[in-house]
Symmetry: D3
Subunit: 281 residues, 6 copies
Amino acid sequence: MNPFPDLPADILAAIQNALREDIGPGDATTNSIVPPDATMRGHIIAKQAGVVAGLDVAKAVYLEIDPRVEFTALAEEGARVENRQILAEVFGPARSLLTAERTALNFLGRMSGIATLTRQFADSVAGTGAVILDTRKTAPGLRVVDKLAVLRGGGQNHRIGLYDMILIKDNHIDFAGSLAEAVTRARAAATGLEVEVEARTLDDIRAAIELGVERILLDNMTPEMMTEAVKINAGRARLEASGNVTLDNVRKIAATGVDYISIGALTHSAKVFDVSFDYIK
Amino acid sequence: MNPFPDLPADILAAIQNALREDIGPGDATTNSIVPPDATMRGHIIAKQAGVVAGLDVAKAVYLEIDPRVEFTALAEEGARVENRQILAEVFGPARSLLTAERTALNFLGRMSGIATLTRQFADSVAGTGAVILDTRKTAPGLRVVDKLAVLRGGGQNHRIGLYDMILIKDNHIDFAGSLAEAVTRARAAATGLEVEVEARTLDDIRAAIELGVERILLDNMTPEMMTEAVKINAGRARLEASGNVTLDNVRKIAATGVDYISIGALTHSAKVFDVSFDYIK
Amino acid sequence: MNPFPDLPADILAAIQNALREDIGPGDATTNSIVPPDATMRGHIIAKQAGVVAGLDVAKAVYLEIDPRVEFTALAEEGARVENRQILAEVFGPARSLLTAERTALNFLGRMSGIATLTRQFADSVAGTGAVILDTRKTAPGLRVVDKLAVLRGGGQNHRIGLYDMILIKDNHIDFAGSLAEAVTRARAAATGLEVEVEARTLDDIRAAIELGVERILLDNMTPEMMTEAVKINAGRARLEASGNVTLDNVRKIAATGVDYISIGALTHSAKVFDVSFDYIK
Amino acid sequence: MNPFPDLPADILAAIQNALREDIGPGDATTNSIVPPDATMRGHIIAKQAGVVAGLDVAKAVYLEIDPRVEFTALAEEGARVENRQILAEVFGPARSLLTAERTALNFLGRMSGIATLTRQFADSVAGTGAVILDTRKTAPGLRVVDKLAVLRGGGQNHRIGLYDMILIKDNHIDFAGSLAEAVTRARAAATGLEVEVEARTLDDIRAAIELGVERILLDNMTPEMMTEAVKINAGRARLEASGNVTLDNVRKIAATGVDYISIGALTHSAKVFDVSFDYIK
Amino acid sequence: MNPFPDLPADILAAIQNALREDIGPGDATTNSIVPPDATMRGHIIAKQAGVVAGLDVAKAVYLEIDPRVEFTALAEEGARVENRQILAEVFGPARSLLTAERTALNFLGRMSGIATLTRQFADSVAGTGAVILDTRKTAPGLRVVDKLAVLRGGGQNHRIGLYDMILIKDNHIDFAGSLAEAVTRARAAATGLEVEVEARTLDDIRAAIELGVERILLDNMTPEMMTEAVKINAGRARLEASGNVTLDNVRKIAATGVDYISIGALTHSAKVFDVSFDYIK
Amino acid sequence: MNPFPDLPADILAAIQNALREDIGPGDATTNSIVPPDATMRGHIIAKQAGVVAGLDVAKAVYLEIDPRVEFTALAEEGARVENRQILAEVFGPARSLLTAERTALNFLGRMSGIATLTRQFADSVAGTGAVILDTRKTAPGLRVVDKLAVLRGGGQNHRIGLYDMILIKDNHIDFAGSLAEAVTRARAAATGLEVEVEARTLDDIRAAIELGVERILLDNMTPEMMTEAVKINAGRARLEASGNVTLDNVRKIAATGVDYISIGALTHSAKVFDVSFDYIK
């Protein structure tokens, strides 16, 4: 019986995994110093401005350790928060709070870091209609955690894994002999999944549109090529820009008229968001 | 029977976890396009200069998918590599190589990113005798992976989890009543583990030394205070600097004479190391 | 390291699960009667005509029990076989063969039963262009096993689970207020997944086409309504017939011009295919 | 702490397994369309007459997804139900109900299908004293689920797996040299398990009785041979008829006086029982 | 694919469990001192006389850690060995041998301790026809390991768990109202399992025989009562003596003519058998 | 969500493991005889004098089976108890109590047996200042269970596994070339773990002290050598006596002035503590 019905099961598994690796056979410090019946109250506090994500995950960390813990979130998921803002109040057995602290903050810091960076990109393209997407370049074992953080930062999710969309890359095309043959085989498999094709030239784009693919990935193209691609496409497929996107160039890319901009850095290179737990004596 | 006896079991579990979340019920693209009997050869290539770490983990990813894959590492773990340098050659069933690629590169990119940043800090303190340490601020579920990368970058590991060292922080001291009482309780538990105490003032340091603790954590002290701490300590306990360490200030900190400098950013905010898989036609 | 790289990991898990429940702490009969060093050779034989599927799964069952077993498939996956035809030869330690037999045959019988029924439906619509699909009405825990059997019988797979396609049913529409609003929300989620909508009237179909959905499910419609739906659609969305499809009426349905016909009975009500293991003395 | 103390642990594991394969990283349709705070009420309804089994399993599926769901069974396990009869009322968060529906109905439909077929056989032999048994020919991974459905249909369970009874088949006898030697070895193992022997001739039966085995399996014998076997046995061992039992011939077999009739079709070829979930607006 | 087809899967799981708890994130001593490419050869040596059991389990421990290890057993399972006798030779990577040593010896010492005690009991009753049995009083998690050791010491196994035999104790009888009613219910469940009943008086024994139970447990009876019980039984049921059996009184009990003597101490109170690993320089 | 926050997760896993191996697919006796709605009350009673440990573990066993069970401990952990003393009262569904009984008592008997033996050793050295320690010679899979029992008997825990302390034994020294080189390598690894070295001669002790190791293990030394070792050490390292410690010689060893005495027999050869469950009618 899942005590956290609003969290994906994969996130619950990630929480259990993280607690097991941190605690092992026991918290030697806390168990030898803190009395079993002591209680404790404290605040989780932002140590920087940004976007918060993962308070529900942090809550689940505490409850997984001890269902007697009371965790009250004081900020909304995806909200902008100020430096020194209180994000949550936590009360319960002191041993449980001390043992859970680092794991809870590791999730919260990672997720808020991803959400904060995602929001910066999303704000940069505001008004252009372009949507910020993540990639599969997530921390191993944290796919769903990282992608949830992107959602809360105002981005949207590209495919979850290899199974929920067909994305034909250059290597696949080589094994099929041609882009057209690759698409034909993908269609023949009748998986019911959308088909996206990686394009490196404007001819690739024309071929892909002809074949009726749902999406085209414009791989490492210049903004000029992208503008041309949008013109050729004329609204038929959806276009995704990818490769070397930064906060400096993202608006220029969005201005070309592409539908999506996918950015690996959201999940593979976001800086942690600084949070701490402050004990209220 | 563990087919990778040189890798910790936790890393094998992390690999299996990562593959499961990425592949799910199958690689829809590859399975519909690439013939089952096609083979493929390719290179894993550095797309930046830095320090490589995790080639053995990447190899295990490929072999976990398919034991017929031949993976030949062409760089040593922890070696400095140039941009465009070939790190490994991979040969085997094309479907297996394509399905494993992203997960293998996710591990390799994360670990090399951590090793590269660690090496920068280690180089910055070269000759001072100070040792660079990691913290428990690792990606949830990747504790042993992240810490292995730190080792390969020339750092050393702080405790693995809550179970293999006693580290008494302010909150623990509050529950004991005093630093002395906290240390006494920790000693009384007779766990056989080293005891480290967090100190915020020079008086804390004197008290800790008097109590014979093995290590003292100097929390967010100025270099001046650290220099004073080193003098007071006179080689009795080992001293660990912690808090807001950057590439800019790390040498100044090392110059104070502390034994260790622990840095959360090594594992919570390292940028991914850029690697790619290039197919050799 | 997966010793069966050509089988999905879910099938390997299903095999281990099935062996554990059948063997428990040991095969009491075999272990008390058959000497540990005895070997055995036998044939797996079809006891009816039909389509064979799952010989690779049966082989994995034997190897999971004992890697010394030699299993030689003598029929192709998806091939039509005659009553009394030899499907495979098995040789190895007698205890291992006897302990594995029932589990191997349970998989082979179930998968061949599904493939045989699927082939009957596929043959019935031959030449019409309609494709036979399965549903999510599979035996709990055997989703990928059952769907593999459908593929080998000449059908194709509908979505694997709730995560790899959007299929909007009546209940979803009620919570959105209208079919148009439901589709709008699904598009806004930007999951990259194809969208299919359940239609009960011709007006539903017109609305769905207008919204550009990729597929429409014609739920329990008469062949006359389907013919009309095909006309209205004019090749824009793909149409899927569903509900009360039998071998008697399937060709009539296919003749209406729908693209897909999905049939729950393929996996929830197929009769087992009769196979036995014959020991060669 | 098992929240379903009345269900065998194996069934809880089967439920978790089935939910994982169906939901994967999330129900894309429901999560994008249905508001998180919407609630829903509905009925599970029989779409045919028959015997219901598995309402407690279906309830556990819903609660496993979300403990806030209220599930009220409106029929007894093993009861005969009419077409259109309401079997249960379900109320709770709409997302949870929609996500759980297919898995709950897959269990309920499979179990009720098995119970309905079992009841038909049980009714056919009413008054003869013969007991209907299942076999180990169950869906892989669903041994305990399928066998529970047989019980609820009025049958009884043959052995659960290879570990809880000794059943000596022809192949075992070959490795021992003779039926007598096989039984002797089984007795010598002193497992404390009942011994049953497969007999193909009347001489086999005489030998088995002489050896004092508890049960004899009459494999593919004609009713005439069975009558003769009953006479020879004279109440000493219990006799089990097996092989090609149908609703047409089962009463004739029961009339020979055998104690048990075991039928693989109960679990390997039962048609699903038709059930649906109807939303009450 | 089980690399140890001759060991029950439960024992492989126990081995993995034991290694995980001992090694955790790594063998800190060995990894910091012993070079990765060093090899090592050593002997496992008995430090007392007794009966050896578990060399195959010890071998599996080493291979689980590292498949490159060569383990050569130099004594038969169940053989009597002298003090200082070499039981096995082990060669392979030094790190792997050092890391595996304690876990391998813990299994070997426990199993040989159980086998040695079992053999003492078995020798004490030699010639009487009584069989020494174990009970369910095994170390939690080691049921199959402990019972395998009993077999190798010359005892036989009572039921493995609650599922493979019916053993009606006083508490069960109280809930049924009478011994007869309890047996009737057990028979009615038609589980195909043998029925044993606990008897405290000679009247209980007469009732049980009348009901045709297969075994009777004589609970804490005097030898005189047991002699009487054997007379009453006249070879119909099998009789099992139980309660306070010691090496001093076991032969007297066996001389009463009972079939079985079950002894909890075999598995809950056996002393470890002393073994060590000696490195050959 | 862990329902037993005061128990280490490893103990919960050991409980689940033990229940699975004992119950398998079901308690055949109880399920066929005891009505599902019957309740039961009983006492867990000591059948000998000694020290009780594991009542909280026994309680968790019952609750794991059925959360409706009410378990009231009537003795403190680590308390001395008399023969016939009531240790706990248990009330709840009769089926659940009967099914859980043996597993609960197996844990309680093992843990109390270890605690009782530990207390005997601890009492024997009372007043000397020496501390009784356990070793890694625990039952495979029960490391944390066994070590908890030692704590409750008045001993303290040596390292939990290979990961939480460095203990350099003879074999490690051989691979390093010398004791000094081994210690140097261990220090260089900077694991933050205490270093202990095995010493066989007084020269070894002098070398170890010189190197500043935290602990020295005096392996199989005579009391005279130990006295000399204490003198040489002069309070610098902590000294641990090990090897062939018995109740007869332990006080003599303690009188030498060593800090610790480690005893494998505490966990590998303790006799079970006799407890029973008495049903209150």
